[in-house]
């Protein structure tokens, strides 16, 4: 598992890939940070990082599928899947290795965003507990979407298609919240509560307000587990079905 992890990290960090995607993320974050600063009004000069994170998430859905699109699609495209499958490592180890590598790149990106709180801390006061909660929420949120992105990558051998489908699904996750509050859905309260349960955004909102709720953690963790298990099934199923 460690060798798969290491190889994936190499493929991210020995190529410009990880740096470009991190730069893009920091660019987005800078933009939001500046916007927040621009909105400052007298007499209380106050802005919240959770709000910035909340705004960044919207753009972030474009980045996650780009990060995960190659995970399995490229293995199939280059025929290197054979190498992994005929080595004495199990499919579960391969999936976990790849997942951890993607998470590491994600952490690298988040670490880049820590610049701004540090800057704020130097020139003002920082409400630490809210910030930490926002980071935990952001991480949980990203970890879930990486699992989804990897799953989609295992469905196709074209990484662009994997990215596009990933974007669509992430959009769906973003807007399921608004959708569940439309008048039409409101007519069916039970359906509404089911849909609302799947909305990731309000869950993030709790984190950003400084709440760590067990139900939110369970939601993110169980989605990750389901996606990774499904990933395993998808890979095995294709081997069996193939032709």
């Amino acid at each position: 598992m460690f060798s798969v992890y290491k190889k994936e990290l190499q493929s991210f960090f020995y190529t410009p890939f990880a740096y470009v995607i991190t730069a893009l993320f920091i660019f987005l974050f800078t933009y939001m940070f500046n916007a927040a600063l621009g909105d400052l009004k007298q007499p209380i000069l106050q802005f919240t990082f959770p709000d910035i994170f909340y705004n960044v998430i919207f753009f972030f859905i474009f980045l996650i599928p780009i990060l995960t699109m190659r995970t399995f699609a490229d293995e199939r495209k280059f025929g290197t899947e054979v190498l992994l499958m005929t080595s004495p490592v199990s499919v579960i180890q391969i999936i976990l290795g790849k997942y951890l590598a993607n998470l590491t790149v994600f952490l690298f990106m988040i670490a880049g965003s820590a610049l701004f709180p540090i800057f704020t801390y130097l020139h003002g006061t920082l409400i630490m507990n809210q910030l930490i909660c926002a980071y935990i929420g952001f991480f949980a949120w990203g970890a879930m979407f990486i699992a989804i992105g990897m799953l989609i990558s295992s469905f196709t051998e074209n990484s662009i298609i994997a990215a596009v489908i990933g974007e669509i699904i992430m959009f769906a996750f973003m807007f399921i919240d608004d959708f569940s509050r439309t008048d039409f859905i409101m007519q069916f309260p039970k359906l509404q509560s089911v849909l609302y349960a799947f909305a990731a955004q309000p869950r993030f909102a709790y984190f950003s307000q400084g709440f760590i709720r067990l139900s939110d953690l369970v939601f993110f963790a169980s989605t990750i587990i389901i996606c990774l298990s499904w990933n395993y099934i998808a890979i095995e199923r294709r081997r069996w079905k193939r032709g």
Partner: protein, 350 residues
């Protein structure tokens, strides 16, 4: 030892590999021969544990590839048809990754990588990106990967495709050297290659095994008799009389005059005749003062054997049927069929 029992693979309703069985002995190079699309790669993928089989069993040094894949795969080095290389990695990085996958201890990794790189002569490209390598080098990097960790059993799917003639010879020599402490299965659609390297061959076509035997036996069984080529200087009639009267000669096929009193004879020998006949002819000719400038036995054309094999009606399922054709024997199978049919009838009556 590696045993393959009744291996079958269906792609949907299309049967790609049909009930094939053979074994690969220790320290043996087994050639796996068949035209394109015969099911070679499918079979190899199943042996290597990449594709699951529809039916059958593959046992590698006592471990069943489906039931104990990790244990079985530890003994396998596999070079697929397309070398499984990552274009964005450097050769050394790639081999280091593969060494990790194969669970080679990190203390030994460096030496092991150096060993395979030396063996395949890829040391000079070790710091290059794989995507910048030529096809031949990529193939060799893929081969190096298969040799990492010195697995006892090597599966090589057309390892010489895309190499230049020099490299082909190098790779063949490497494979021959591997025989000392490995078992190798080696697929090809090129006959001369298989006959140059392998101890035994399995001939497969459309998913059916056509033959499993040594090259010599195949030649003997299917090629019939040998042809003797003699080039002499001297009296043509005298020479042909001598040749015709020697034991083991069936007939003189042709005599070509090549000028300056040189004549080339093509002599068909009787089945089973060989070196003794050749020596007798030589001795007689020399005794009668005829100079021999060239004499050799020509093996039957293996290519023809191959074509013949794969074109045989697909009813033949294996070597046994082929042997039956050559040496007709009683067929117990039909009897047992009748018996079982009779049994069934009895049962029906009951």
């Amino acid at each position: 030892m590696i045993t393959i029992e009744k291996l079958t693979k269906y792609y949907g309703t299309n049967r790609a590999v049909n009930n094939i069985s053979f074994t690969i002995n220790d320290n043996e190079i087994l050639g796996f021969l068949g035209p394109n699309g015969a099911g070679k790669s499918t079979t190899m993928n199943m042996i290597a544990g990449y594709l699951p089989m529809s039916a059958g069993k593959v046992t590698i040094y006592g471990s069943d590839i489906s039931k104990a894949p990790v244990a079985a795969k530890k003994n396998i080095g596999y070079l697929p048809e397309i070398p499984p290389v990552y274009p964005d990695m450097r050769v050394r990085e790639y081999l280091s990754f593969c060494a990790g996958l194969k669970r080679i201890r990190s203390a030994e990794r460096k030496d092991e990588i150096a060993r395979v790189m030396k063996l395949l002569k890829i040391e000079d490209v070790q710091d290059k990106l794989i995507k910048n390598l030529s096809k031949g080098y990529k193939q060799r990097v893929g081969f190096a990967q298969a040799l990492l960790g010195n697995p006892k059993f090597l599966i090589l799917d057309e390892p010489t495709v895309g190499l230049d003639p020099n490299q082909v010879i190098e790779v063949r020599n490497i494979i021959k050297d591997l025989k000392k402490d490995h078992s190798v299965i080696f697929s090809s659609h090129i006959l001369s290659e298989v006959s140059a390297v392998c101890d035994r061959v399995v001939i497969i076509n459309k998913g059916d095994i056509k033959a499993v035997d040594t090259i010599e036996n195949l030649e003997k069984k299917l090629g019939g008799s040998l042809t003797l080529r003699i080039k002499i200087k001297g009296d043509r009639t005298k020479a042909s009389n001598i040749i015709e009267l020697t034991d083991g000669v069936q007939e003189i096929v042709s005599i070509d005059a090549e000028g300056n009193d040189f004549y080339a004879f093509a002599v068909k020998l009787k089945e089973g005749a060989g070196d003794d006949t050749k020596n007798n002819i030589m001795a007689e000719l020399i005794k009668h003062g005829i100079q021999i400038s060239e004499i050799y036995t020509e093996k039957p054309d293996l290519e023809a054997v191959f074509v013949d094999m794969i074109n045989r009606s697909s009813k033949n399922n294996g070597l046994l049927d082929l042997l039956d054709e050559i040496e007709p024997v009683d067929e117990p199978e039909t009897e047992s069929d009748e018996e079982s049919a009779a049994d069934e009838e009895k049962e029906d009556k009951e």
